[in-house]
């Protein structure tokens, strides 16, 4: 290998390693700090020791974190809310995108534009009207009839099922599928739903992985403002609300880091499972899914 090319390659790797470190450092800091006492944590934070497993390390913070908040319940709540939202969202968004791309109906381009326009509406602007709506929505569940959705799982799920980004991802992906496959299936006698289920969806692995990861992150990480507004009962709280438990009376940074480390595990696990498909789809087509 010529020296010039070797030098360029080394430079590229150095740059990439530096960028990777910038992203990894906060995570390393979080994990390392979770094993340190508050005193040591604050002392180390001024130096590189903050990123190293040095000093008096223990699992005390984890034990205390579990005492301070019902972490298992919060994780269960978050995983349940996120999983249901992701599954239903993938189903509905893919059906909507299928309709936009493959079916001919009056007004579809107008409606598609309207759906995409909701991209630019921040959630904060609709939070209060949405609160008024869900506050007065009736619900029949296992525990009987209720006149409001407050303090429930559905109030944290239903408003987030449909979103423009997920529909957009599916629309872009479906547009790139060969139209002849759909036409061949129609000639073979497939109904539109059979085309969706037996031809289009089996070919949509990459976009399903991408949309699932993005939706998972969106749901799992952003459960803060809305749950504060609609959930007062502890039994329905997601992990992000659980952070409040650690800022009461005295702020225990070590316990906070332990708590954050614990609640990061489901995200990492989910990402690692779908990582291959996610990277493949991003690498091959950029935004298209």
């Amino acid at each position: 290998m010529p020296a010039q090319r070797l030098a360029k390659l080394s430079l590229d790797y150095l740059l990439l390693a530096w960028i990777a470190l910038v992203f990894v450092f906060p995570v390393v800091f979080m994990v390392m700090s979770s094993f340190k006492s508050d005193l040591q944590l604050l002392r180390d934070s001024a130096s590189l020791r903050a990123f190293l497993p040095v000093g008096d390390l223990s699992f005390d913070n984890y034990a205390k974190a579990f005492q301070r908040a019902p972490i298992g319940l919060f994780i269960l709540n978050s995983v349940f809310i996120t999983a249901v939202t992701v599954c239903v969202s993938l189903l509905l968004a893919s059906l909507a995108a299928f309709s936009f791309v493959f079916l001919q109906w009056v007004g579809r381009s107008v409606l598609m534009a309207a759906v995409l326009a909701t991209f630019i509406v921040p959630f904060e602007t609709i939070a209060v009207p949405l609160l008024l709506i869900v506050n007065n929505l009736p619900w029949i569940g296992l525990d009987g009839f209720k006149t409001s959705w407050l303090n429930s799982y559905q109030v944290q799920i239903v408003p987030f099922i449909a979103d423009a980004l997920t529909i957009f991802l599916f629309v872009q992906y479906f547009k790139d599928l060969p139209k002849e496959l759909v036409e061949a299936a129609r000639i073979d006698g497939a109904t539109w739903f059979q085309v969706y289920r037996r031809v289009v969806m089996p070919l949509s692995g990459p976009v399903l992985a991408t949309a699932a990861i993005l939706k998972f992150l969106m749901m799992y990480n952003n459960q803060l403002l809305w749950p504060i507004m609609v959930v007062q009962e502890e039994s329905y709280r997601p992990v992000m609300l659980g952070l409040q438990y650690f800022f009461q009376l005295n702020t225990a940074w070590g316990e906070i880091m332990a708590y954050l480390t614990i609640i990061t595990v489901p995200v990492l696990a989910f990402y690692l499972v779908l990582q291959k498909a996610f990277i493949a789809s991003i690498a091959s087509t950029g935004i298209k899914g």
Binding site: A184, R186, D188, G189, P202
Partner: protein
């Protein structure tokens, strides 16, 4: 069984009228080729027959049954696409039997019919493979197998050979012709390749700007093209056209002569020109001659001719092979 009738069919995409007004009868059991340049509307006609494109007005009948507004699957047709359109996630057997799987036919019947189609197309050893593990020719045969299992009254082919290399294209042409004589169903075949049209069809429909220029047997179109467009489109290399004084002498505004009918002389002829280029094909030699008044003249000479580029040649135009046109239409002798 599989007669196809199109009556006053029109098709517009927005304000663009692609098929102005088309009526066409395709006889039962025929191998009809729709041929024409890109954008002439041939694929649109095929897609309207298939039900993949709605007609703007008019009626389409298959076997005396009005199918104008029927679903594609209810028309008694099967279609083979240019891109093959094989389902990538299914095996060859599943691809071929997909229509029957959807129709919830008994497994034994599906296996039997898939086996029969595979035997006709020599695909038995490939039934468990996925499309990506097949060559272009094999994929094309799977697409045809899928069409066969539908047991259609009419087969529709949309430029099915254009993705294959030249030798495979020749082989598939023979196989399709054999398939037609074996199963005897009506076949409608779209292509822009007039060689495919001439070699496979028992009826050719030449289209231009959404209108039928001429419809007839291949040799009919070759020997007596009704319009200058058909004369120029059918035959390779294309017919030579002479305008000006030589056309006036024959009482027309364009005089056509096919390259294979022009004679080459060393001494005397109707026209004299200079050889610009010669292509030796082995069996024939294509010679491009430049004439000061008429520009390039293409001549097809039998055998392998060795000619000097730049040398002068004399060309003869035999009276029995002249095609006379006025205002784009043939003047009947």
């Amino acid at each position: 069984m599989g007669q196809v009738l199109l009556k006053s069919v029109r098709k517009s995409f927005g304000s663009a009228e692609v098929i102005p007004d088309l009526s066409l009868a395709i006889p039962d059991g025929s191998f009809t080729v729709l041929v024409g340049p890109s954008g002439c509307g041939k694929s649109t006609i095929l897609r309207m027959i298939a039900g993949l494109e709605d007609v703007s007005s008019g009626t389409i009948k298959i076997n005396d049954r009005d199918v104008t507004y029927r679903e594609p699957s209810q028309r008694g047709i099967a279609m083979v696409f240019q891109s093959y359109a094989l389902y990538p996630h299914m095996t060859v057997a599943e691809n071929i039997g997909f229509g029957m799987i959807l129709a919830k036919r008994p497994k034994a019947e599906i296996n039997k019919r898939v086996g029969e189609a595979a035997a006709i197309l020599r695909l038995e050893h490939l039934l468990d493979r996925k499309p990506k593990q097949l060559s272009g020719g094999q994929r094309q045969r799977v697409a045809i197998g899928r069409a066969i299992t539908r047991d259609p009254q009419v087969f529709l082919f949309d430029e099915p050979l254009s993705n294959l290399d030249a030798s495979l294209r020749g082989q598939m042409r023979v196989e399709l012709a054999e398939l037609h004589s074996k199963i005897g169903a009506t076949m409608i075949y779209v292509t822009h390749d007039q060689v495919e049209a001439m070699t496979m069809a028992d009826q050719i429909v030449v289209l231009n700007n959404g209108r039928i220029e001429q419809q007839g047997m291949p040799m009919e179109l070759y020997i007596a093209p009704k319009t200058r467009f058909v004369a120029g489109f059918i035959g390779a290399p294309s017919m030579n056209f002479f305008e000006g004084s030589i056309a006036s002498q024959h009482d027309c505004d364009a005089l056509g002569v096919r390259p294979e009918h022009i004679g080459l002389r060393d001494d005397d002829g109707d026209l004299t020109g200079r050889i610009r280029h010669a292509e030796q094909l082995g069996s024939d030699t294509i010679i491009y001659v430049h004439h000061d008044d008429y520009g390039q003249i293409t001549v097809r000479a039998e055998g392998n001719r060795v000619l000097d580029i730049g040398s002068t040649v004399h060309l003869t135009l035999p009276a029995e092979h002249l095609h006379r046109f006025r205002n784009g239409f043939r003047i009947q002798d």
